[in-house]
Amino acid sequence: MKFDDKIPIYLQIQNYLDRQIISGELAPGDRLPSVRQLAVDVTANVNTVQRALSEMIDEKIIVPQRGRGNFVTVDVDLIAQLRLKLVDEQFALVYDQLRALNFSDSEIIDKFVEYVKDRGALNE
């Protein structure tokens, strides 16, 4: 995995796992690879991976089972919330950038509706 070295590595690992859960690559109830295996997969150290997992355990997205490893939550509402959080994050980036260029709210909305229509037409 390519990291942006300006952003804490544990956050980037957390983000990577969040996306896998949202996209369904890691399904509700799935067991995660071992910490060491995840560390090898993303090329980070075990402590950093453990920290990312601890954050996700605090958020209850991941549920540890003693002696068995870490599992993706089966609480689909929590995963739905995570999904919405990710949309908010993406919109926040775009919104801030466009506001910085003096686009008004209504311009942003109109343009966005138009954009989705065009892209949607292309995808059909």
């Binding site: 300006k6 590595i9 060491r36 090329t43 402590n47 920290r51």
Partner: protein, 236 residues
């Protein structure tokens, strides 16, 4: 986590020139630590002092042992194999390690050698720089100790060898052992590090958590490291 290394009031001079002054450093078990500094800053010297192959004033304790002869059984220092003639076959060197170090784990060595694709029937002279570094890393990590000191393991090697070495470090580092890696290009290993220790002006300039640097300063590790030198110039 317990302390694996404690260096207190270390002073070292060579031919009347001060190399290290008032060095104090404590490292916990289970970490990967980047030891950074310019060429000649004293990184290798500090590693040699910790290992006990060079002597200085001050106290060094590794896993509770402070006497040099006791310390040596707790530290695995990356040797560049300068003592072996170029005609030596690699399997002879492995045998030598087995004889000299009681804690040398042959099974672990074979796993590492297999993972790193090392052909043990070759002579030392037949190895490319990258393959020699891989061999040295496999030897170093195959001892079962609490502290591993890797002296510029990525110096002058291609990116594929570097990736293999990094992966072998992640895979084979014993959970409670600490690995110190010295390097002057931090960006190639920064995602791997728990913390960095910078040697500058003959002493420890700082010892900081890597993700904390990113979180608090919004800087990458290399920029942070370079900023220590810019600040130095302003004072001149």
């Amino acid at each position: 986590m317990s302390d694996i290394l404690k260096v207190e009031n270390l002073n070292y001079s060579h031919r009347l020139k001060k190399i290290l002054q008032d060095v104090n450093l404590t490292l916990e078990s289970g970490k990967i630590v980047g030891l950074l500094g310019e060429n000649g800053a004293g990184k290798t010297t500090l590693m040699r002092l910790i290992t006990g192959v060079a002597h200085a004033t001050g106290d060094i304790t590794v896993a509770g042992a402070s006497r040099i002869d006791e310390r040596k059984s707790h530290v695995s220092y990356m040797d560049h194999l300068g003592a072996f003639s170029l005609g030596t076959h690699l399997d002879r060197i492995v045998k030598f390690y087995q004889t000299v170090y009681e804690d040398f784990d042959v099974d672990r060595f074979n796993e590492l050698a297999d993972f790193l694709n090392i052909d043990l029937s070759l002579k030392l002279s037949a190895l490319s720089k990258g393959n020699k570094q891989k061999f040295v890393i496999a030897l170093t990590l195959s001892r079962q100790v609490e502290l591993y000191l890797l002296d510029e393991p990525f110096d002058g090697i291609d990116s594929m060898s570097r990736k293999d070495i990094i992966n072998s470090i992640i895979k084979w580092k014993p959970e409670n052992a600490t690995i110190v890696i010295s390097d002057h290009y931090v960006s190639e290993i920064s995602s791997l590090l728990d913390e960095i220790v910078v040697i500058k002006d003959e002493t420890i300039n700082c010892n900081l958590d890597a993700d904390k640097i990113r979180e608090d300063k919004g800087m990458d590790i290399e920029d942070f490291y370079e900023s220590l030198y810019e600040r130095g110039h302003d004072n001149d």
